[in-house]
Amino acid sequence: MAEYHFPIPGAKDEKEIVVFARRHWASFLGQFVLSFLFLVIPIIILVIIYVFNFDRRIFQGLAVNFLTLVLSAYYLVGITFAFVAWMSFYYNCYIITRQEIVEITQVGFFGRKISQLSVLRVQDVTSSINGLLPTLFSYGNVLVETASEQKESIILQSVPNPQEISSKIMALHDEVIASESREQQILDGEGTLTPPKAPPPSPPASPPPEKTPEQELLTGEKADEDQSLEGEISKNDLDKGGEIEIK
């Protein structure tokens, strides 16, 4: 058994799983029907040829040898496709724990993609049910978006009861935030208005000390320098002559 760094069904930490969802079987109805037809069509064609006497030479001579080999290869490939399709259905699953959302995607025999997303980073959860079959069987998509700049997202495709799953994800998100006492940080990050804090009490104002005439002259010159704007030439600079450094 492979080692997974998240709870999976049957493992010791299985209790941590809040939601374990697979794609609804009805979303694979088209593939099931197609696979069934793929297996049945050659038999139907042969029966039709035999019953309606179209050309019976196909059942005689070396054509039978050729047909046997082709049909054998056809059915071997057919059951492999059917098995891989079933495996994709079975191993395409979503595991939601108190800490993270895990998406497992099986691609054929050899490909397995696992995406993990922290529940804490969840920002928006959208559930949708579109179409006749999803409405009849109550399944749909759940889009989970993160608060990061790249807007990472996970789509839980064709899961049963999408509204229930989306509300559970948001409940878990609130739970994690409350447990980590990060409500204030999240509100600040979202730009939510918070009541302004009262300014600290200022010390009682004391009268300014008296200045000598020399000090008054110096402070006046400094004030003139400060008033000069960037790129403008102050009166003092004009008096100096020569090159003027424009900052």
Binding site: M1, P9, G10, L62, A73, I79, M87, Y90
Partner: protein, 73 residues
Amino acid sequence: MYIFLIIWFIFLFIYIIFNIYGLIQVLAKRFKGDAIGRAVLIYLILMFVIIVVSILAISRLDWGKNLKDIFKI
């Protein structure tokens, strides 16, 4: 006609190797208590039945004829 038979056996050989490797990979990545064991068993039985039926049919047919006789009555 032997050429088709040889091609079929080469196909069968590659098919079996591919399946053995694929199933090993699948079984290595399974979850505890999943239904993949039963599914693999059913898959292997079906594969075995198709191969056995094919070999039985092939053994009953005459493969010594010329390719020109493919539609000969």
